[in-house]
């Protein structure tokens, strides 16, 4: 590859988009964005924007997919044709299939599926705009949508990626850092909280992938960094839900 040298950090150590190494992109969340869905949410992290919807629990067809003792999740991940800089050809592909699988497994441990035997829950993650980290943003949005749909959960799932550019671990890689950087590690965690200030993660990581070449130390650093990012996102998830019901975090004792 005849790559031009990218300057990943300026003199002050800021990244290509002006962030510090351990800083998330600007994040917006909203729950209940769709009228017809049982639960829905939109999460925007930098230029990445995902809308998640949840339908169900509902009758599941075809019948042979039903499980007699729990609900079955059907996951859908789709990128809109206009979500990338060059038109993305629509329809399922192998990448989407992989993401559907890992996202489903990232959410499943948090859900009380035994409460709805034989039923099905449809989760859909629509990527409207993509600039790196769509799978983790999708999981964060899907978790909000599931809570909005009233599906019983052990805790909120938040997901975040950390990567390495120029041999330095950075949090929440953007599109450019993802494509041209050394590697990235997406992580999802199940979060719970003891009170409004202290959050406990219980180290329950439900997604951990890696693409690229990293040293053991770098992997450890990235995992730690991404966990911190997940915690921040979790707090914002909580805030977003409470705001919908007109409660600010300080109001509660």
């Amino acid at each position: 590859m005849a790559d031009e040298e990218i300057e990943w950090f300026d003199e002050e150590g800021n990244r290509v988009d002006g962030r510090k190494a351990d800083e998330l992109r600007e994040t917006e969340m909203e729950v209940g964005v769709l009228e017809e869905a049982d639960g829905s949410a939109m999460v925007e992290i930098g230029n990445t924007r995902v809308i998640a919807s949840v339908f169900g629990p509902q009758d599941l067809h075809p019948k042979h997919l039903q499980e007699s003792d729990r609900a079955v999740i059907k996951m859908r991940y789709n990128m809109a044709p206009f979500s990338v800089d060059d038109r993305m050809s629509p329809g399922p592909n192998r990448r989407a299939q992989e993401i559907e699988l890992v996202a489903k497994n990232a959410l499943k441990p948090a859900l009380e599926l035994e409460r709805f035997p034989t039923a099905g829950i449809d989760i859909s993650m629509e990527v409207v705009e993509s600039d790196g980290g769509t799978r983790v943003t999708g999981i964060t949005a899907a978790s909000l949508a599931l809570a909005d749909a009233g599906i019983p959960m052990k805790g909120m799932v938040s997901a975040c990626a950390a990567g390495v550019v120029d041999d330095t671990p950075v949090l929440d890689v953007n599109g450019k850092e993802d494509k041209k950087g050394n590697a990235d590690i997406p992580i999802a965690t199940i979060n719970r909280t003891d009170d409004d200030t202290e959050s406990t993660q219980d180290d329950r990581v439900t997604l951990l992938q890696m693409d690229g070449d990293l040293t053991t130390e770098q992997v450890d650093e990235c995992v730690e960094l991404a966990k911190k990012g997940c915690e921040k996102l979790y707090r914002q998830q909580r805030r977003t839900i409470l705001q919908k019901y007109n409660v600010s975090e300080g109001d509660q004792e």
Partner: protein, 231 residues
Amino acid sequence: MSRLKQENDIVVPGDVVTEEDDVRPSSGVYTEEGKIYSQHIGTVKYGSGSVRVQPMDGRYIPKEGDVVIAEVTRVSYSRWNLDMDSPYEGTLDISEASDQYVDLDEDDLTDFYDVGDAVVAKVTSVSESMDVDLTMLDDRCRKLEEGRIINISPHKVPRVIGRQGTMVQQINEKTNCHVIVGQNGLVWINGENPTVAAEAVKKVEEEAHTDGLTDRIGEWIDEQIEERGEN
């Protein structure tokens, strides 16, 4: 050991509700390592020695003894299938539909209930695999003619009914309507001011987690009827 959330506090899945030893977990919560966590977005409700979280939203899951409003979706040889706006379908057997003898080969089941008919039915049993049996042999059960049916969250039903039925009684009296609230979140309305009644029910649903609702709804209905009456 402390009580971290108070009555009517709003919680999110994974929030610790209480660490008290002597509080029993009821619905909408789970216990882990002596702490009681919420499973839902909802409000905290303490009972005598127990705690539960009342979810804000969610589908209706049939429970024995519930009186629901359902629509007939299929008529077979000796029973009907009913949609209760739930993931699970209800079954009404002919023996539960009429006291009288019915000759299955002679009589037409559609004379009782046909596809598309709405009925008030009672849940008699729910099996482990979520087969739901319904009955019409209860004073409250009947076929619904005329009127309209609106949809609310099943978790807001207790609020729409009110304590000892005060809320629904108030809506009935003030709008001159007959309102039947099914436990599954379907509400049948028939009478003089059905639109006001429907909007009032919707308003109760939206503001279910606020205080002093009965009085506020009462005033609101009075205003609405006055306004619309003049038009």
